[in-house]
Amino acid sequence: MKRFRGFVIKEFYHIFRDKRSLFILFGMPIAQILLFGFAITNEINNVDIAVLDHSKDATTEEIINKIAASSYFSIDQFIERESDIETVFKQGKIKAVINIEKDFSQKLIKDGKAHVQIITDATDPNTANTIYNYVTAILQNYQRSKNNNITMPYQISPQTRMVYNPELKSVFMFVPGVMTIILMLVSAMMTSISITREKELGTMEILLVSPLKPFQVIVGKVVPYIFLSVINAIVIVVLSIFIFKMPVEGSIFLLGLESVLFIITALALGILISTIATTQQTAMMISLMGLMLPVILLSGFIFPIASMPLILQVISNLVPAKWFIIIIKGIMLKGVGLQFIWKETLILLGMTVFFIGLSVKKYKIRLE
């Protein structure tokens, strides 16, 4: 045990001696969470649109003013011809064109209805669809005010309650995701690199001939990183509470325990990578290339998993980040206790055991 302690202390020395890495290790997650917490949102704001008004009468002017007044859109230019639509889209700045038909007012008065065409640049389908929905909503409001709020008989109105995030802030969605990505990648990368580094520099041989058991060597390498990652996790949680006003509805103690569990899962994955890779380069490429996009895309961080094709929903179960995101959202936003997230916790635990078991099996005590 004393030997083991000595080894852990040596590892701490190694880490603390490299001031630059340490700075990177703590500075980057903070910079990222601040940047992304403020910058990433999937709402739309100030989208540049163009207007093609064939009528140019009082009603269309009112409509255009309504659209211009909303914070979603800013009217960048008025175009005169249908052929200009193609041109503005190709330049790429304008995302939508509002095309108002001829004799709009007259048709509205005479026939009781008139059309507005919303042409969107659907190379980004999500923005295109959102723009369409928002313009439609603005026009519906306008229509309602025109109709002097006549209520139809037998009206059924849904009373919608948005729970857990009544203001629909996207920060609540993205902060847990960013936290997960940072913990996952930093932890997996750090361990896989630090172990392969010893292999590549040849110092692993020295450790293996020492009286320390191989198991102790690996655990000793991981312990300091658990410590560092926990500090990282604490910093991120504190930032999300105080800067992004994320609530912690559930127990903060449970949140801490779950974070430690997730960190260990990620570290175990790092160990597994290091048993496969022989050089630092390979280890890093596996943990970066292999983990970055799957963690971002398949964890439910940005894209809802329920909408993915079935096969990907199955694959997403293999991504530890997915389960951790469910856990943090549960504890922080829904305020659930362990009775609601025991399944996710058990899965993370199982993955950790599996990664460690596989690493022990693959771990070579002899060098070729």
Binding site: I24, L35, T120, N126, P153, M162, V163, M173, L297
Partner: protein
């Protein structure tokens, strides 16, 4: 020239000698392209829907029938109490709960109006908004049919004015997300491979100690850098080609614009990424440091590229930061040229910025590489 040739030869040999790396460079990105392009969709379907029917009449059942008929709502669960339903939502089994109050039908007929309770899990605000729209649409259309049935002669009919909106989705009529995501993810993969490889390159020689050996040779700084850059440039272009073939064959993505223009742009773009990579490599002492920095920038580049979330919605200062994001330009150009068929004239701003960026980064890379310690 001959010297550069030798360095290039050496670099290629080193890359192809490392058998563990080859699949990571060539196969992993393509597999990810094929798989992950399917994952990136904001389309909302299979909404986890539950209901509490306290009315149990033909009207309430007819309304619920509408929901089960819709393709958006897949899983329909019936809970007998609000408590049960709420606990299911806490569990994550349900995202939308519709509660039909007792005497719903009776009161609707008597009072000529009524309310429904709708609870939506809003952690993902954007999704919640869409879900609410879908529910309202179903209720509205149900309401319209019901109204014609119930309407009596005595009810005064006022004909309101109606403004209809007609959507027209250009360049991607069916709102197919893959059309949008495949070029985008290809861009990410090309960038990741070239940035990580070049970022680790010189620092690796430093760490192993072979850089000193090169430093004592008469190789000039610029020759050395060019020799280091070229193989990765070739790999990047090769990856783009393979990715485009996959885009065409597997995803059937339309390539409207000129391929030559895309290659011309990419050839400049990769230089930017390589320049950044070498610059990182020169400024770090160990591969570990280099990788952390490369990782840091990569995550920022990816999440602020406008690929997953729109740039226009970011605060002003964040939009300013995206001006320094090479991926942003690459995504824009790929989308413009590939899907809209934009010409060179349309992408001049992006092209010039990228060119300037490439020039500055490579100048910095050459400048920061010191032959002496």
């Amino acid at each position: 020239m001959k010297t550069i040739g030798y360095i290039i030869q050496k670099e290629f040999k080193q890359i192809f000698r490392n058998k563990g790396m080859l699949p990571i460079i060539f196969i992993l990105p393509l597999v990810q392209l094929v798989i992950l392009a399917n994952a990136a969709t904001f389309e909302i379907k299979n909404i986890k829907f539950a209901y509490i029917d306290n009315d149990h009449t033909t009207t309430s059942r007819a309304l619920l029938e509408k929901f089960s008929a819709s393709t958006f709502f897949n899983v329909l669960t019936n809970y007998s109490s609000e408590k049960q339903a709420n606990s299911a939502m806490l569990n994550g089994d349900v995202d939308v709960i519709l509660e039909i109050p007792p005497y719903f039908e009776r009161d609707l007929i008597k009072e000529k109006q009524n309310k429904l309770g709708l609870t939506i899990n809003a952690i993902d605000g954007a999704t919640a908004g869409v879900e609410s729209v879908y529910v309202s649409q179903i209720i509205q259309s149900f309401n319209k049919n019901l109204r014609t049935e119930l309407m009596q002669v005595s009810d005064k009919i006022v004909r309101p004015v109606q403004i209809t909106t007609i959507p027209s989705f250009w360049y991607n009529e069916t709102l197919n997300y893959k059309t949008f995501m495949v070029p985008g993810i290809l861009v990410l993969l090309v960038t990741m491979i070239t940035l990580f490889l070049s970022g680790m390159n010189i620092v690796r020689e430093k760490e192993i100690g072979t850089l000193e050996q090169i430093n004592v040779t008469p190789i000039r700084k610029s020759q050395f850098i060019i020799g280091k850059l070229f193989p990765f440039w070739v790999i990047g272009m090769g990856l783009l080609t393979l990715g485009l073939i996959i885009a065409k064959l597997i995803f059937d993505i339309p390539i409207v614009g000129s391929l030559a223009l895309m290659y011309a742009y990419t050839s400049v773009y990769i230089l930017v990424v390589l320049g950044i990579g070498l610059f990182i490599s020169n400024f770090t002492d160990t591969q570990q440091q280099a990788m952390f920095i490369a990782w840091f920038f990569m995550v920022i580049f990816i999440l602020m590229s406008g690929l997953f979330t729109p740039i226009e919605s970011m605060p002003q200062w964040a939009q300013l930061i995206t001006e320094f994001n090479p991926i942003k330009y690459f995504v824009e150009v790929m989308r413009m040229v590939m899907l809209k068929g934009s010409s060179f004239a349309d992408i001049i701003p992006q092209f010039l910025k990228t060119l300037l960026y490439a020039f500055v980064m490579n100048l910095l890379a050459v400048w920061s590489y010191k032959k002496t310690n």
